[in-house]
Protein backbone atom coordinates (compact mmCIF):
# COMPACT_ATOMS: atom_id res chain seq x y z
CA UNK A 1 0.00 0.00 0.00
CA UNK A 2 2.94 2.30 0.61
CA UNK A 3 3.64 2.77 -3.08
CA UNK A 4 0.08 3.87 -3.72
CA UNK A 5 0.57 7.50 -2.91
CA UNK A 6 -2.32 9.03 -4.77
CA UNK A 7 -5.45 7.24 -3.81
CA UNK A 8 -9.03 8.26 -3.95
CA UNK A 9 -10.40 8.21 -0.43
CA UNK A 10 -13.71 8.88 1.14
CA UNK A 11 -14.27 12.28 2.66
CA UNK A 12 -14.31 10.86 6.18
CA UNK A 13 -10.82 9.38 5.87
CA UNK A 14 -9.16 12.71 5.11
CA UNK A 15 -8.16 14.72 8.09
CA UNK A 16 -8.91 18.42 8.07
CA UNK A 17 -6.40 20.75 9.69
CA UNK A 18 -6.60 24.29 10.87
CA UNK A 19 -4.15 26.99 11.82
CA UNK A 20 -4.00 29.64 14.47
CA UNK A 21 -4.77 33.22 13.44
CA UNK A 22 -1.16 34.26 13.94
CA UNK A 23 0.13 31.58 11.59
CA UNK A 24 -2.62 32.32 9.08
CA UNK A 25 -1.48 35.94 8.83
CA UNK A 26 2.22 35.64 9.51
CA UNK A 27 3.09 32.89 7.03
CA UNK A 28 1.57 34.61 3.96
CA UNK A 29 3.07 37.92 5.06
CA UNK A 30 6.49 36.34 5.45
CA UNK A 31 6.16 34.68 2.06
CA UNK A 32 5.32 38.02 0.45
CA UNK A 33 8.19 39.71 2.25
CA UNK A 34 10.74 37.11 1.17
CA UNK A 35 9.35 37.17 -2.36
CA UNK A 36 9.83 40.93 -2.53
CA UNK A 37 13.16 41.06 -0.73
CA UNK A 38 15.31 38.27 -2.14
CA UNK A 39 14.85 38.85 -5.91
CA UNK A 40 16.16 42.38 -5.48
CA UNK A 41 19.52 40.84 -4.59
CA UNK A 42 19.28 37.60 -6.53
CA UNK A 43 16.92 37.86 -9.46
CA UNK A 44 16.91 34.11 -10.09
CA UNK A 45 14.82 33.68 -6.98
CA UNK A 46 11.87 35.28 -8.79
CA UNK A 47 11.28 31.97 -10.54
CA UNK A 48 9.84 30.73 -7.27
CA UNK A 49 6.41 31.93 -6.25
CA UNK A 50 6.29 31.60 -2.47
CA UNK A 51 2.85 33.24 -2.14
CA UNK A 52 1.51 30.62 -4.55
CA UNK A 53 3.07 27.80 -2.54
CA UNK A 54 1.54 29.15 0.66
CA UNK A 55 -1.85 29.46 -1.05
CA UNK A 56 -1.67 25.85 -2.19
CA UNK A 57 -0.55 24.65 1.23
CA UNK A 58 -3.36 26.35 3.13
CA UNK A 59 -5.91 25.27 0.56
CA UNK A 60 -5.03 21.58 0.51
CA UNK A 61 -4.58 21.41 4.27
CA UNK A 62 -7.78 23.19 5.28
CA UNK A 63 -9.74 21.43 2.56
CA UNK A 64 -12.31 24.19 2.48
CA UNK A 65 -13.12 25.64 -0.91
CA UNK A 66 -14.34 28.89 0.53
CA UNK A 67 -11.24 29.34 2.69
CA UNK A 68 -9.04 28.33 -0.23
CA UNK A 69 -10.43 30.82 -2.69
CA UNK A 70 -10.47 33.66 -0.17
CA UNK A 71 -6.86 32.93 0.87
CA UNK A 72 -5.81 32.90 -2.77
CA UNK A 73 -7.69 36.10 -3.55
CA UNK A 74 -6.21 38.05 -0.65
CA UNK A 75 -2.63 36.86 -1.17
CA UNK A 76 -2.91 37.48 -4.90
CA UNK A 77 -4.26 40.99 -4.52
CA UNK A 78 -1.51 41.93 -2.08
CA UNK A 79 1.06 40.50 -4.48
CA UNK A 80 -0.50 42.57 -7.27
CA UNK A 81 -0.10 45.69 -5.19
CA UNK A 82 3.67 45.21 -5.13
CA UNK A 83 3.91 45.20 -8.92
CA UNK A 84 3.26 48.06 -11.31
CA UNK A 85 0.61 46.18 -13.19
CA UNK A 86 -3.14 46.28 -12.77
CA UNK A 87 -4.40 44.89 -9.49
CA UNK A 88 -6.27 41.65 -9.98
CA UNK A 89 -3.99 39.64 -12.25
CA UNK A 90 -2.42 37.59 -9.49
CA UNK A 91 -5.67 37.87 -7.55
CA UNK A 92 -7.67 36.03 -10.18
CA UNK A 93 -4.97 33.43 -10.80
CA UNK A 94 -4.53 32.62 -7.12
CA UNK A 95 -8.28 32.59 -6.49
CA UNK A 96 -8.61 29.86 -9.10
CA UNK A 97 -5.65 27.97 -7.67
CA UNK A 98 -6.92 28.28 -4.10
CA UNK A 99 -10.31 26.94 -5.08
CA UNK A 100 -8.85 24.15 -7.18
CA UNK A 101 -6.30 23.08 -4.58
CA UNK A 102 -8.89 22.91 -1.83
CA UNK A 103 -11.20 20.92 -4.10
CA UNK A 104 -8.37 18.52 -4.84
CA UNK A 105 -7.44 18.33 -1.17
CA UNK A 106 -10.91 17.05 -0.41
CA UNK A 107 -10.56 14.25 -2.91
CA UNK A 108 -7.00 13.01 -2.60
CA UNK A 109 -4.35 12.64 0.04
CA UNK A 110 -1.68 15.28 -0.40
CA UNK A 111 0.56 14.39 2.50
CA UNK A 112 3.10 12.55 0.41
CA UNK A 113 6.13 14.49 -0.93
CA UNK A 114 5.70 13.07 -4.42
CA UNK A 115 2.07 14.07 -4.52
CA UNK A 116 2.93 17.50 -3.26
CA UNK A 117 5.52 17.97 -5.98
CA UNK A 118 3.11 16.97 -8.73
CA UNK A 119 0.18 18.92 -7.32
CA UNK A 120 2.24 22.08 -6.90
CA UNK A 121 3.83 21.82 -10.34
CA UNK A 122 0.38 21.30 -11.84
CA UNK A 123 -1.15 24.25 -10.04
CA UNK A 124 1.80 26.42 -11.00
CA UNK A 125 0.99 25.70 -14.63
CA UNK A 126 -2.67 26.50 -13.97
CA UNK A 127 -1.63 29.74 -12.28
CA UNK A 128 0.58 30.79 -15.17
CA UNK A 129 -2.08 29.89 -17.70
CA UNK A 130 -4.77 31.93 -15.96
CA UNK A 131 -2.38 34.86 -15.55
CA UNK A 132 -1.37 34.69 -19.20
CA UNK A 133 -4.94 34.50 -20.48
CA UNK A 134 -6.21 37.33 -18.29
CA UNK A 135 -3.23 39.62 -18.91
CA UNK A 136 -3.30 39.06 -22.64
CA UNK A 137 -7.03 39.13 -23.27
CA UNK A 138 -8.34 41.61 -20.73
CA UNK A 139 -5.42 43.98 -20.34
CA UNK A 140 -3.79 43.46 -23.72
CA UNK A 141 -0.35 42.92 -22.21
CA UNK A 142 2.13 41.57 -24.77
CA UNK A 143 3.25 38.42 -23.01
CA UNK A 144 5.20 35.54 -24.45
CA UNK A 145 4.44 31.98 -23.40
CA UNK A 146 7.81 30.36 -22.90
CA UNK A 147 7.30 26.63 -22.57
CA UNK A 148 10.75 25.64 -21.35
CA UNK A 149 10.88 28.40 -18.80
CA UNK A 150 7.37 27.71 -17.54
CA UNK A 151 7.92 23.97 -17.17
CA UNK A 152 11.22 24.49 -15.40
CA UNK A 153 9.61 26.99 -13.05
CA UNK A 154 6.80 24.53 -12.32
CA UNK A 155 9.31 21.82 -11.47
CA UNK A 156 11.37 24.11 -9.24
CA UNK A 157 8.27 25.31 -7.44
CA UNK A 158 7.26 21.69 -6.91
CA UNK A 159 10.61 20.89 -5.34
CA UNK A 160 10.44 24.00 -3.18
CA UNK A 161 6.93 23.04 -2.10
CA UNK A 162 8.14 19.70 -0.76
CA UNK A 163 10.58 21.48 1.54
CA UNK A 164 8.28 24.34 2.47
CA UNK A 165 5.26 22.12 3.18
CA UNK A 166 7.37 19.93 5.46
CA UNK A 167 8.26 23.02 7.49
CA UNK A 168 4.71 24.34 7.55
CA UNK A 169 3.36 20.92 8.59
CA UNK A 170 4.67 21.68 12.08
CA UNK A 171 2.15 24.48 12.50
CA UNK A 172 -1.01 22.63 11.54
CA UNK A 173 -3.42 21.39 14.14
CA UNK A 174 -5.98 18.63 13.79
CA UNK A 175 -9.62 19.59 14.17
Amino acid sequence: MSDMTIVRTSREEIEVYRFGPVISVLVPLLALLIQAFVPARWHGFAVLDLPLLVTIFFAVTRRSQMAGLMTGAIIGLVQDALTHQAIGLYGIAKTVVGYGASSLGVKIDVENPGTRLLVTAGFHLVHQTVYFVVARNILGVALEWLWARTLLAALLNGVAAVVLFAVLDRFKRST
Binding site: A81, T83, Y90, T95, R149
Partner: protein, 450 residues
Protein backbone atom coordinates in the same frame (compact mmCIF):
# COMPACT_ATOMS: atom_id res chain seq x y z
CA UNK B 1 -33.27 29.28 -6.98
CA UNK B 2 -32.42 29.47 -3.34
CA UNK B 3 -31.79 25.77 -3.36
CA UNK B 4 -29.41 26.18 -6.29
CA UNK B 5 -27.25 28.76 -4.52
CA UNK B 6 -27.15 26.80 -1.29
CA UNK B 7 -26.18 23.69 -3.18
CA UNK B 8 -23.46 25.41 -5.22
CA UNK B 9 -22.51 27.90 -2.59
CA UNK B 10 -18.74 27.60 -3.02
CA UNK B 11 -18.86 27.66 -6.79
CA UNK B 12 -21.13 30.70 -6.65
CA UNK B 13 -18.71 32.45 -4.34
CA UNK B 14 -15.84 31.63 -6.68
CA UNK B 15 -17.73 33.15 -9.58
CA UNK B 16 -18.57 36.20 -7.53
CA UNK B 17 -14.98 36.80 -6.44
CA UNK B 18 -13.67 36.27 -9.95
CA UNK B 19 -16.32 38.54 -11.42
CA UNK B 20 -15.47 41.29 -8.93
CA UNK B 21 -11.78 41.09 -9.82
CA UNK B 22 -12.44 41.06 -13.55
CA UNK B 23 -14.62 44.12 -13.15
CA UNK B 24 -11.83 45.73 -11.15
CA UNK B 25 -9.41 45.03 -13.97
CA UNK B 26 -11.81 46.45 -16.52
CA UNK B 27 -12.10 49.65 -14.50
CA UNK B 28 -8.32 49.95 -14.27
CA UNK B 29 -7.95 49.57 -18.01
CA UNK B 30 -10.11 52.65 -18.49
CA UNK B 31 -8.68 54.95 -15.91
CA UNK B 32 -5.35 55.88 -14.47
CA UNK B 33 -4.18 54.77 -11.08
CA UNK B 34 -6.37 56.59 -8.60
CA UNK B 35 -8.88 55.82 -5.89
CA UNK B 36 -9.08 52.36 -4.38
CA UNK B 37 -6.30 50.86 -6.44
CA UNK B 38 -3.90 53.53 -5.32
CA UNK B 39 -5.02 53.07 -1.75
CA UNK B 40 -4.43 49.32 -1.72
CA UNK B 41 -1.00 49.82 -3.26
CA UNK B 42 -0.25 52.54 -0.73
CA UNK B 43 -1.20 50.28 2.17
CA UNK B 44 0.74 47.29 0.95
CA UNK B 45 3.88 49.27 0.12
CA UNK B 46 3.79 51.02 3.46
CA UNK B 47 3.38 47.69 5.24
CA UNK B 48 6.07 45.77 3.36
CA UNK B 49 8.67 48.47 2.67
CA UNK B 50 9.55 49.27 6.32
CA UNK B 51 10.16 45.58 6.96
CA UNK B 52 12.39 45.39 3.91
CA UNK B 53 14.23 48.52 4.95
CA UNK B 54 14.95 47.10 8.40
CA UNK B 55 16.11 43.85 6.82
CA UNK B 56 18.48 45.77 4.56
CA UNK B 57 19.82 47.80 7.49
CA UNK B 58 20.40 44.69 9.55
CA UNK B 59 22.13 42.80 6.75
CA UNK B 60 24.30 45.82 5.95
CA UNK B 61 25.27 46.20 9.59
CA UNK B 62 26.29 42.59 9.90
CA UNK B 63 28.03 42.71 6.53
CA UNK B 64 29.98 45.84 7.44
CA UNK B 65 31.19 44.36 10.70
CA UNK B 66 32.33 41.27 8.86
CA UNK B 67 34.01 43.08 5.98
CA UNK B 68 35.55 45.96 7.91
CA UNK B 69 36.68 44.25 11.08
CA UNK B 70 36.84 40.51 10.56
CA UNK B 71 37.44 39.57 6.97
CA UNK B 72 40.38 41.67 5.76
CA UNK B 73 42.15 38.97 3.80
CA UNK B 74 43.64 40.20 0.55
CA UNK B 75 43.32 43.86 1.39
CA UNK B 76 47.03 44.56 0.83
CA UNK B 77 46.92 42.89 -2.54
CA UNK B 78 43.79 44.74 -3.46
CA UNK B 79 45.34 48.01 -2.35
CA UNK B 80 48.34 47.44 -4.59
CA UNK B 81 46.09 46.64 -7.53
CA UNK B 82 44.05 49.75 -6.92
CA UNK B 83 47.14 51.93 -6.80
CA UNK B 84 48.22 50.56 -10.16
CA UNK B 85 44.75 51.19 -11.48
CA UNK B 86 44.87 54.79 -10.26
CA UNK B 87 48.13 55.31 -12.10
CA UNK B 88 46.67 53.92 -15.29
CA UNK B 89 43.56 56.05 -14.93
CA UNK B 90 45.61 59.19 -14.37
CA UNK B 91 47.34 58.68 -17.66
CA UNK B 92 44.04 58.02 -19.33
CA UNK B 93 42.54 61.09 -17.72
CA UNK B 94 45.14 63.34 -19.30
CA UNK B 95 44.29 62.02 -22.72
CA UNK B 96 40.55 62.23 -22.13
CA UNK B 97 40.70 65.77 -20.82
CA UNK B 98 42.37 66.81 -24.05
CA UNK B 99 39.65 65.11 -26.06
CA UNK B 100 36.97 66.61 -23.86
CA UNK B 101 38.30 70.11 -24.27
CA UNK B 102 38.43 69.65 -28.00
CA UNK B 103 34.89 68.31 -28.02
CA UNK B 104 33.69 71.28 -25.98
CA UNK B 105 35.28 73.68 -28.38
CA UNK B 106 33.65 71.98 -31.32
CA UNK B 107 30.29 71.85 -29.58
CA UNK B 108 30.51 75.52 -28.77
CA UNK B 109 31.37 76.34 -32.36
CA UNK B 110 28.36 74.41 -33.55
CA UNK B 111 26.08 75.86 -30.90
CA UNK B 112 25.27 72.47 -29.39
CA UNK B 113 23.70 72.26 -26.00
CA UNK B 114 24.89 69.56 -23.70
CA UNK B 115 23.16 68.12 -20.70
CA UNK B 116 24.81 67.18 -17.49
CA UNK B 117 23.67 65.83 -14.20
CA UNK B 118 23.86 68.47 -11.55
CA UNK B 119 22.22 66.76 -8.62
CA UNK B 120 21.57 63.21 -7.55
CA UNK B 121 20.13 61.49 -4.53
CA UNK B 122 21.74 58.26 -3.38
CA UNK B 123 19.26 55.54 -2.48
CA UNK B 124 19.34 51.94 -1.40
CA UNK B 125 17.37 49.21 -3.09
CA UNK B 126 15.20 47.61 -0.45
CA UNK B 127 12.98 45.28 -2.40
CA UNK B 128 11.41 44.25 -5.66
CA UNK B 129 8.04 43.25 -7.03
CA UNK B 130 9.09 39.63 -6.64
CA UNK B 131 7.49 38.84 -9.97
CA UNK B 132 8.98 37.80 -13.28
CA UNK B 133 6.28 39.76 -15.06
CA UNK B 134 7.04 43.05 -13.35
CA UNK B 135 10.66 44.17 -13.32
CA UNK B 136 10.80 46.88 -10.73
CA UNK B 137 12.58 47.64 -7.50
CA UNK B 138 11.79 49.71 -4.46
CA UNK B 139 14.22 52.32 -3.13
CA UNK B 140 14.31 53.91 0.30
CA UNK B 141 13.86 57.48 -0.90
CA UNK B 142 10.57 59.09 -1.72
CA UNK B 143 8.78 62.40 -2.06
CA UNK B 144 10.28 63.59 1.21
CA UNK B 145 13.71 63.41 -0.45
CA UNK B 146 12.69 65.29 -3.56
CA UNK B 147 12.04 62.27 -5.73
CA UNK B 148 9.46 62.71 -8.44
CA UNK B 149 8.06 60.38 -11.08
CA UNK B 150 10.01 60.00 -14.33
CA UNK B 151 13.36 60.80 -12.78
CA UNK B 152 16.28 58.78 -14.12
CA UNK B 153 17.87 56.16 -11.89
CA UNK B 154 21.48 55.22 -12.56
CA UNK B 155 24.49 53.47 -11.08
CA UNK B 156 28.18 54.15 -11.73
CA UNK B 157 28.06 51.33 -14.29
CA UNK B 158 25.06 52.49 -16.27
CA UNK B 159 21.40 53.34 -16.29
CA UNK B 160 18.94 51.34 -14.23
CA UNK B 161 15.48 52.69 -14.93
CA UNK B 162 13.12 55.49 -14.08
CA UNK B 163 11.01 56.38 -11.10
CA UNK B 164 7.48 55.13 -11.60
CA UNK B 165 5.55 55.85 -8.41
CA UNK B 166 6.57 57.90 -5.43
CA UNK B 167 5.44 57.45 -1.85
CA UNK B 168 6.46 59.44 1.17
CA UNK B 169 9.60 57.48 2.03
CA UNK B 170 9.79 54.99 -0.81
CA UNK B 171 9.70 54.92 -4.58
CA UNK B 172 9.05 52.36 -7.28
CA UNK B 173 11.69 52.19 -10.00
CA UNK B 174 10.80 50.59 -13.31
CA UNK B 175 13.85 48.76 -14.62
CA UNK B 176 14.97 49.07 -18.22
CA UNK B 177 14.38 45.34 -18.79
CA UNK B 178 10.66 45.60 -18.14
CA UNK B 179 8.51 45.19 -21.26
CA UNK B 180 6.74 48.48 -20.57
CA UNK B 181 10.02 50.39 -20.36
CA UNK B 182 11.53 52.41 -23.21
CA UNK B 183 14.83 54.28 -23.41
CA UNK B 184 16.22 56.32 -26.27
CA UNK B 185 19.58 54.76 -27.11
CA UNK B 186 22.40 55.24 -29.56
CA UNK B 187 25.23 52.96 -30.63
CA UNK B 188 28.54 54.53 -29.67
CA UNK B 189 30.60 54.10 -32.83
CA UNK B 190 28.02 53.70 -35.59
CA UNK B 191 25.77 56.41 -34.07
CA UNK B 192 22.66 54.43 -34.98
CA UNK B 193 19.68 55.30 -32.85
CA UNK B 194 16.99 53.02 -31.53
CA UNK B 195 14.74 52.37 -28.58
CA UNK B 196 15.80 50.06 -25.80
CA UNK B 197 12.95 47.93 -24.53
CA UNK B 198 12.63 45.05 -22.13
CA UNK B 199 11.16 41.66 -22.89
CA UNK B 200 8.98 39.27 -20.94
CA UNK B 201 12.06 37.16 -20.27
CA UNK B 202 13.84 40.10 -18.66
CA UNK B 203 16.19 40.82 -21.53
CA UNK B 204 16.86 44.20 -23.10
CA UNK B 205 16.54 44.68 -26.85
CA UNK B 206 17.50 47.62 -29.01
CA UNK B 207 14.69 48.08 -31.50
CA UNK B 208 14.05 50.06 -34.65
CA UNK B 209 17.54 49.77 -36.12
CA UNK B 210 17.21 49.03 -39.83
CA UNK B 211 18.23 45.55 -40.90
CA UNK B 212 20.62 46.83 -43.58
CA UNK B 213 22.80 48.47 -40.95
CA UNK B 214 25.85 46.71 -39.57
CA UNK B 215 25.96 46.29 -35.83
CA UNK B 216 28.77 44.31 -34.26
CA UNK B 217 28.66 42.50 -30.94
CA UNK B 218 30.44 44.30 -28.17
CA UNK B 219 29.62 47.80 -29.38
CA UNK B 220 28.67 50.09 -26.56
CA UNK B 221 25.18 51.50 -26.28
CA UNK B 222 24.59 54.93 -24.76
CA UNK B 223 21.54 56.99 -23.97
CA UNK B 224 20.56 59.31 -26.78
CA UNK B 225 18.71 61.79 -24.61
CA UNK B 226 15.70 61.60 -26.88
CA UNK B 227 13.42 60.28 -24.17
CA UNK B 228 13.89 63.44 -22.08
CA UNK B 229 14.43 61.27 -19.01
CA UNK B 230 18.03 60.10 -19.29
CA UNK B 231 20.69 62.68 -20.15
CA UNK B 232 22.61 61.98 -23.31
CA UNK B 233 25.73 59.85 -23.15
CA UNK B 234 25.07 57.65 -20.15
CA UNK B 235 26.21 54.04 -20.58
CA UNK B 236 23.38 51.62 -21.23
CA UNK B 237 25.22 48.41 -22.05
CA UNK B 238 26.88 46.54 -24.87
CA UNK B 239 25.53 44.71 -27.87
CA UNK B 240 25.40 41.02 -27.07
CA UNK B 241 23.83 39.50 -30.12
CA UNK B 242 22.39 40.70 -33.40
CA UNK B 243 19.86 38.82 -35.49
CA UNK B 244 17.89 39.84 -38.54
CA UNK B 245 14.31 40.39 -37.45
CA UNK B 246 11.19 39.26 -39.20
CA UNK B 247 10.41 42.82 -40.27
CA UNK B 248 12.62 45.63 -41.47
CA UNK B 249 14.51 45.95 -38.21
CA UNK B 250 17.32 44.12 -36.49
CA UNK B 251 16.88 42.21 -33.24
CA UNK B 252 19.73 43.54 -31.14
CA UNK B 253 20.11 42.05 -27.71
CA UNK B 254 21.87 44.37 -25.29
CA UNK B 255 23.56 43.35 -22.08
CA UNK B 256 22.88 46.12 -19.56
CA UNK B 257 25.96 47.79 -18.11
CA UNK B 258 24.39 47.84 -14.66
CA UNK B 259 23.74 44.48 -13.04
CA UNK B 260 19.97 44.74 -12.75
CA UNK B 261 19.72 41.51 -10.82
CA UNK B 262 22.00 42.64 -8.01
CA UNK B 263 21.23 46.24 -7.34
CA UNK B 264 22.14 47.63 -3.96
CA UNK B 265 22.73 51.36 -4.27
CA UNK B 266 21.48 53.63 -7.00
CA UNK B 267 21.50 57.33 -7.78
CA UNK B 268 18.33 59.18 -8.65
CA UNK B 269 18.99 62.09 -10.98
CA UNK B 270 17.01 64.91 -9.46
CA UNK B 271 18.32 67.72 -11.65
CA UNK B 272 19.65 67.88 -15.17
CA UNK B 273 21.13 71.09 -16.52
CA UNK B 274 21.40 71.94 -20.16
CA UNK B 275 24.17 74.26 -21.18
CA UNK B 276 26.14 75.48 -24.12
CA UNK B 277 29.81 74.72 -23.60
CA UNK B 278 32.29 77.53 -23.61
CA UNK B 279 35.47 77.52 -25.63
CA UNK B 280 37.07 79.73 -23.02
CA UNK B 281 37.71 76.70 -20.88
CA UNK B 282 41.39 75.94 -20.84
CA UNK B 283 42.40 72.45 -21.63
CA UNK B 284 45.76 72.05 -20.02
CA UNK B 285 48.50 73.67 -18.03
CA UNK B 286 48.84 77.39 -18.52
CA UNK B 287 52.15 78.62 -19.75
CA UNK B 288 53.86 81.63 -18.27
CA UNK B 289 53.79 83.27 -21.68
CA UNK B 290 50.02 83.02 -21.77
CA UNK B 291 49.66 84.69 -18.39
CA UNK B 292 52.04 87.41 -19.48
CA UNK B 293 50.12 87.92 -22.68
CA UNK B 294 46.93 88.41 -20.72
CA UNK B 295 48.53 91.03 -18.51
CA UNK B 296 49.96 92.99 -21.37
CA UNK B 297 47.73 95.57 -23.01
CA UNK B 298 46.55 94.54 -26.39
CA UNK B 299 44.36 95.85 -29.13
CA UNK B 300 40.93 94.31 -28.73
CA UNK B 301 39.88 92.33 -31.71
CA UNK B 302 36.57 93.29 -33.17
CA UNK B 303 34.68 90.27 -34.16
CA UNK B 304 32.11 90.82 -36.87
CA UNK B 305 28.60 91.13 -35.51
CA UNK B 306 26.68 87.92 -35.72
CA UNK B 307 29.82 85.93 -36.27
CA UNK B 308 29.27 82.24 -35.46
CA UNK B 309 32.61 81.90 -33.76
CA UNK B 310 32.20 85.02 -31.73
CA UNK B 311 28.82 83.94 -30.54
CA UNK B 312 30.00 80.49 -29.71
CA UNK B 313 32.95 81.49 -27.65
CA UNK B 314 30.69 83.11 -25.12
CA UNK B 315 28.60 80.98 -22.89
CA UNK B 316 24.90 81.16 -23.32
CA UNK B 317 23.36 83.71 -21.05
CA UNK B 318 19.77 82.54 -20.96
CA UNK B 319 20.13 81.16 -17.50
CA UNK B 320 17.08 79.77 -15.85
CA UNK B 321 17.62 79.75 -12.14
CA UNK B 322 15.24 77.51 -10.28
CA UNK B 323 14.20 78.49 -6.83
CA UNK B 324 16.65 76.23 -5.11
CA UNK B 325 19.15 75.37 -7.75
CA UNK B 326 21.97 76.88 -9.67
CA UNK B 327 25.18 75.80 -11.23
CA UNK B 328 26.75 72.63 -9.91
CA UNK B 329 29.11 72.98 -7.06
CA UNK B 330 32.54 71.47 -7.11
CA UNK B 331 34.36 69.40 -4.59
CA UNK B 332 36.08 71.10 -1.76
CA UNK B 333 39.47 72.09 -2.93
CA UNK B 334 38.91 70.71 -6.35
CA UNK B 335 38.56 72.46 -9.64
CA UNK B 336 35.41 74.29 -10.49
CA UNK B 337 32.69 72.24 -12.03
CA UNK B 338 32.92 71.46 -15.66
CA UNK B 339 30.12 70.77 -18.01
CA UNK B 340 29.32 67.12 -18.10
CA UNK B 341 30.16 66.51 -14.51
CA UNK B 342 28.33 64.11 -12.34
CA UNK B 343 28.31 65.01 -8.75
CA UNK B 344 27.50 62.88 -5.82
CA UNK B 345 28.36 62.77 -2.20
CA UNK B 346 29.82 59.86 -0.40
CA UNK B 347 29.05 58.73 3.09
CA UNK B 348 32.03 60.61 4.33
CA UNK B 349 30.58 63.81 3.07
CA UNK B 350 33.11 64.34 0.32
CA UNK B 351 31.67 65.52 -2.89
CA UNK B 352 33.29 64.04 -5.92
CA UNK B 353 33.12 65.48 -9.35
CA UNK B 354 33.98 63.51 -12.40
CA UNK B 355 34.26 64.88 -15.87
CA UNK B 356 31.90 63.19 -18.17
CA UNK B 357 31.56 64.46 -21.64
CA UNK B 358 30.59 61.55 -23.79
CA UNK B 359 29.65 59.06 -21.14
CA UNK B 360 29.47 60.61 -17.72
CA UNK B 361 30.00 58.23 -14.88
CA UNK B 362 28.46 59.15 -11.61
CA UNK B 363 30.53 58.97 -8.51
CA UNK B 364 30.04 55.85 -6.53
CA UNK B 365 27.85 56.50 -3.59
CA UNK B 366 29.17 54.68 -0.60
CA UNK B 367 25.92 54.31 1.16
CA UNK B 368 26.62 51.72 3.74
CA UNK B 369 24.02 52.06 6.39
CA UNK B 370 23.09 55.66 5.94
CA UNK B 371 22.88 57.23 2.54
CA UNK B 372 23.48 60.92 2.61
CA UNK B 373 21.66 62.82 -0.04
CA UNK B 374 23.43 64.83 -2.56
CA UNK B 375 20.32 66.92 -2.50
CA UNK B 376 21.36 67.96 0.95
CA UNK B 377 24.20 69.95 -0.51
CA UNK B 378 22.61 73.22 -1.45
CA UNK B 379 24.25 74.91 -4.36
CA UNK B 380 25.02 78.58 -4.43
CA UNK B 381 22.31 81.11 -4.91
CA UNK B 382 23.81 82.58 -8.06
CA UNK B 383 24.45 80.49 -11.12
CA UNK B 384 27.66 82.28 -11.97
CA UNK B 385 29.27 81.42 -8.68
CA UNK B 386 31.23 78.29 -8.22
CA UNK B 387 30.49 76.92 -4.81
CA UNK B 388 32.63 74.21 -3.37
CA UNK B 389 30.64 72.49 -0.66
CA UNK B 390 31.96 72.61 2.84
CA UNK B 391 33.61 69.39 3.85
CA UNK B 392 31.38 67.78 6.38
CA UNK B 393 31.25 64.56 8.26
CA UNK B 394 29.00 61.73 7.26
CA UNK B 395 26.77 62.30 10.23
CA UNK B 396 26.28 65.87 9.31
CA UNK B 397 25.20 64.97 5.83
CA UNK B 398 22.67 62.41 6.77
CA UNK B 399 19.19 62.47 5.33
CA UNK B 400 17.44 65.68 5.67
CA UNK B 401 20.42 67.55 7.02
CA UNK B 402 21.05 70.21 4.45
CA UNK B 403 24.68 71.10 4.13
CA UNK B 404 25.19 74.62 2.96
CA UNK B 405 28.63 75.13 1.59
CA UNK B 406 30.44 78.36 2.01
CA UNK B 407 29.89 80.53 -1.00
CA UNK B 408 33.19 81.22 -2.69
CA UNK B 409 33.41 83.69 -5.47
CA UNK B 410 36.66 83.13 -7.24
CA UNK B 411 37.88 86.03 -9.25
CA UNK B 412 38.34 83.63 -12.08
CA UNK B 413 34.61 83.33 -12.56
CA UNK B 414 34.71 86.64 -14.37
CA UNK B 415 35.29 86.45 -18.07
CA UNK B 416 38.79 86.72 -19.37
CA UNK B 417 39.82 90.26 -20.00
CA UNK B 418 38.31 91.74 -16.88
CA UNK B 419 40.40 93.59 -14.40
CA UNK B 420 40.67 90.81 -11.89
CA UNK B 421 42.52 88.55 -14.20
CA UNK B 422 45.58 90.65 -13.87
CA UNK B 423 46.66 88.88 -10.71
CA UNK B 424 46.21 85.22 -11.24
CA UNK B 425 46.78 82.93 -8.29
CA UNK B 426 47.21 79.42 -9.55
CA UNK B 427 46.28 76.84 -6.97
CA UNK B 428 48.81 74.15 -6.35
CA UNK B 429 48.08 70.91 -4.66
CA UNK B 430 49.94 67.65 -4.48
CA UNK B 431 48.84 65.01 -6.91
CA UNK B 432 46.66 67.34 -8.92
CA UNK B 433 47.36 68.59 -12.36
CA UNK B 434 48.33 72.25 -12.62
CA UNK B 435 45.27 74.40 -12.53
CA UNK B 436 44.61 77.24 -14.87
CA UNK B 437 45.38 80.69 -13.65
CA UNK B 438 42.01 81.85 -14.79
CA UNK B 439 39.46 79.17 -14.33
CA UNK B 440 36.64 79.46 -16.78
CA UNK B 441 33.26 80.79 -15.90
CA UNK B 442 31.02 77.96 -14.86
CA UNK B 443 28.56 76.92 -17.47
CA UNK B 444 25.34 78.79 -17.29
CA UNK B 445 22.67 76.22 -16.83
CA UNK B 446 19.19 75.81 -17.99
CA UNK B 447 17.34 73.33 -15.91
CA UNK B 448 15.18 70.88 -17.69
CA UNK B 449 11.83 70.98 -16.08
CA UNK B 450 10.38 67.60 -15.27
Amino acid sequence: MENFFSRYRNASLLMLVLFAQVMGLAVQVKRTETGGTRLLRFWVVNAIAPLEKSLVSTSHGVGNVWRNYVYLRGVRHENRDLREQVERLRIEQVRLSEDAAQARRLQALLGFKEQFISQTVAAQVIGSSGSDQSHLVYIDKGSSNGIKPDMAVITPDGIVGKVLSVYHGYSQVLLINDPSSGVGAILESSRLQGILQGTAAGETMLKYVMSDEKVVAGERVLTSGGDRIFPKGLPVGAVQQTNPGSDLFLNIRVKPAADLGRLEEVLVVTRVVETTPSTAEPSGPVRAADILAERLPSVPQKAPAGSAVGAATKPTTNVTTPSNSTAPSSAAGAQPSKPGAVQSQTAGGDATTKPAVAAPKPATANTGGATPDTAATKPAAKPVTTTPPAKTSGAATADGAATKPAVVKPAATKPAGSGDVGKPKPTKSAGQPPKPATPPPPPPGEEISR
